[in-house]
């Protein structure tokens, strides 16, 4: 990638994020805020794989955040804190659930797809609300964060920050490679012209399903991180409105752009934090802002950085 305006901005952005803990060494609140923003960025980047590249408008993506977080929570409930157990299991469950949900929902398209993904996610939400053993809607307290044989201490805010930062970079890199691979070319083709793709001989369903599972696993990773970060998990994390927020982050940042969802997640969270401090009626500003973004800022924040060169 040549250093165009977008490249410069993104590099500076990443350097800023990387150096933030040094600048804010006695401001753990901001480190926490940015940690959360990075975690949701990972989720948003994974959702972008579906929305932006594959034209699959999933309205249930937050479910994988819930799965990841619940994995940590349930293991912690049984006092198993080993991350080498927790994390692979969390990712595996995310993959299995995504495989099942994807297999069912990808039979439909358009709004039917939106609604079926929402419905499937709501089922898990209600499941979470109903299981008393795991706190029902009160959720589970995660008092001990995942342990990695002493290699890294997630209880340490700044160390955790850099772990999240690492996974964010890794996610971006993976999605970058993926979308430019042979596989990615097919998935993007499905967004552009699915009929043509089928006529060429691609069984689009398989490719979409694979993308759906990959996105689910990455989002499950975000869930593992979020559960650890929040020290808590409850079904709210899977509610459809949370999936809606993720969608908004992606669109705000720029559909189908590599870094867009990261910017979207950061702006969304900062805006939420700043506006809600300003007035309890902050949603009367936030609502029209949403509308304005859709109407006047097609392509999201990413489009402000010039024409897309991601292809």
């Amino acid at each position: 990638m040549t250093m165009n305006r977008r490249g410069v901005v993104m590099t500076l952005f990443l350097i800023t994020v990387a150096l933030l803990p040094i600048a804010l060494v006695d401001q753990p609140f901001y480190i926490g805020l940015f940690s959360r923003a990075m975690i949701l960025s990972i989720a948003a980047v994974s959702l972008n794989l579906l929305l932006g590249y594959g034209n699959m408008i999933s309205f249930g993506h937050a479910v994988y955040i819930g799965i990841g977080a619940y994995t940590v929570g349930i293991f912690a409930y049984y006092e198993i804190y080993d991350g080498f157990i927790q994390w692979p299991v969390g990712l595996a469950i995310s993959a299995v659930v995504a495989l099942i949900f994807g297999a069912i929902s990808l039979r439909t398209r358009g709004v039917y797809f939106i609604m079926i993904t929402l419905a499937l996610a709501q089922m898990l939400y209600f499941l979470g609300v109903s299981i008393d053993e795991y706190g029902a809607d009160d959720g589970l307290v995660i008092d001990v964060r995942s342990e990695f044989a002493g290699l890294i201490d997630l209880e340490e805010g700044i160390a955790f920050y850099y772990v999240i930062f690492f996974f964010l970079l890794l996610t971006i890199f993976i999605v970058h490679r993926l979308t430019n691979s042979r596989f990615g070319v097919v998935v993007r083709g499905a967004k552009s012209n699915e009929v043509r793709l089928r006529a060429l001989g691609f069984s689009v369903y398989q490719y979409k399903l694979t993308a759906f599972v990959i996105a689910g696993v990455i989002c499950g990773l975000a869930g593992l991180l979020l559960g650890n970060f929040t020290n808590f998990v409850n079904p709210d994390m899977m509610h459809w409105t949370r999936s809606g927020e993720l969608i908004f982050m992606v669109v705000l940042g720029g559909l189908g752009s590599l870094f867009g969802p990261v910017l979207g997640a950061f702006v969304f969270l900062l805006l939420e934090e700043i506006l809600s401090d300003l007035t309890i009626h902050w949603q009367i500003i936030f609502g029209p802002f949403l509308i304005a973004v859709v109407l006047f800022m097609r392509g999201g924040i990413d489009s402000l950085l010039g024409k897309s060169t991601d292809d």
């Binding site: 029902a136 009160d138 929040t230 808590f232």
Partner: protein, 393 residues
């Protein structure tokens, strides 16, 4: 453009960092729900906290009091983030408030882990009363199970043999049902756990309750669902036929609305509570009249608990003469419950939940014709919650 935003953020952050760390004041963070439909509860709490501060001249132990209110948006994650902000950025000495169990559970570690005091003005999840109890955590309300346990006793006393239970299917709802089951000696002949918080139409459940012909119906519906339930109970023609026993459903927030639509069925219905607006204690009288004068309405129990929160904190700060570094001193002072409470004198249990009386309350008209609740008698005396025994403190 975005970089500029980030840059500006960093500058602001740096400035904020510079302005912290001066301690001529008591800083209190107050987390409640100010947006969403539940914001009406948060408003009552905020109003009560403000009233309490005015009543003490906004001073505690010679220090000025500074309060920062934060809205949790009814979401655990947001509640935690706001709590983090209060603890880490604003460096408050006390964090109080919390309507919802899940918000409190999510925020708990942020406060206690930082060595600050956490005071719940409402939420009372069993975890915090039992296994997760903490030396720096105090409640000015009750543990979830206690109020329905009192109701179970009421049902026994009133000779109810068969009971139909309707409550929302979430943690607090299940706690309430478990609580009433713990003391009720009759038979529960039917139980419906409804979808929460979205279900507001109870036609199917009411039809089942009617068909079951119980001696009484027990419900728990806080907030707007309570209004909906009471209305439908009357429309279905059940008021007056099957006595209705409720907890946390009929309160000063819902009663004005009931009165407006002349929901006469609610008159004379029974509930249990640790407090009532007509309770004959000096602090309660002062609080209720002050609240009515300032805000023109009856305070809810949420408000009463919050009012107590102010005085609990004040007792701690005064005990150490404003030396906010003296955590041990403040903790010891609070554990004595040595402050004027709306509920009268009480003690703290070892889990720092109040050991207190619970009253049977009835909906009545006051001298001005306004619908309110009145305490009838003590049902449970100096009641210790069930989970205190699990608290290793």
């Amino acid at each position: 453009m975005f970089l500029r935003t980030i840059g500006a953020g960093l500058v602001v952050a740096a400035m904020l960092a510079a302005t912290t760390a001066q301690a001529a004041e008591v800083k209190i963070g107050f987390v409640t729900t100010l947006t969403t439909p539940a914001g009406v509860i948060g408003r009552d709490m905020k109003d009560a906290f403000e009233l309490g501060l005015e009543d003490i001249g906004r001073k505690m132990g010679g220090l000025d009091v500074k309060v920062m209110y934060e809205d949790d948006g009814f979401k655990p994650e947001i509640g935690k983030q706001k709590t983090d902000k209060l603890v880490q950025k604003d460096d408050v000495d006390f964090v109080a408030g919390y309507i919802w169990s899940h918000v409190l559970l999510a925020s708990r570690k942020s406060v206690l882990g930082a060595g600050k005091f956490l005071i719940s003005s409402n939420a009372g999840p069993s975890q915090l009363a039992g296994k997760l109890c903490h030396k720096n955590f105090f409640s000015t309300s009750w543990q979830n199970d206690q109020t329905p346990m009192a109701m179970g006793e009421v049902l026994n006393q009133r000779g109810v043999k068969s009971l139909y239970v309707i409550a929302p299917n979430y943690a607090a709802g299940k706690n309430m049902v478990a609580g009433v089951q713990r003391t009720f000696k009759g038979k529960i002949i039917g139980k419906d756990m409804t979808k929460w918080p979205t279900q507001l139409d109870f036609s199917a459940e009411l039809a089942k309750a009617r068909a079951a012909k119980p001696d009484g119906v027990f419900i728990f519906y806080p907030g707007k669902a309570g209004g909906a339930f009471m209305k439908q109970y009357q429309q279905a023609g059940l008021s007056g036929k099957i006595p209705l026993y409720s907890v946390f459903t009929v309160d000063s927030i819902s009663l004005p609305k009931f009165q407006k639509v002349n929901l006469s069925g609610v008159m004379g219905s029974f509930m249990t509570q640790f407090w009532a607006p007509d309770l004959d204690t000096p602090q309660s009288k002062k609080f209720v009249s002050g609240f009515k004068k300032k805000y023109g309405r009856y305070p809810s129990f949420y408000a009463a608990q919050t009012y107590d929160t102010v005085f609990l904190i004040k007792s701690a700060v005064e005990a150490v003469n404003g030396d906010l570094k003296n955590m041990d001193g403040m903790r010891a002072a609070m554990a004595k419950a040595n402050f004027p409470s709306v509920r009268g004198p009480f003690k703290y249990g070892k889990n720092h939940f109040p050991v207190q009386d619970f009253y049977l309350r009835e909906v009545v008209k006051d001298s001005d014709g306004v619908w309110t609740t009145a305490a009838r008698k003590v049902v449970l005396k100096d009641h210790v919650d069930t989970y205190a025994k699990d608290c290793k403190m």
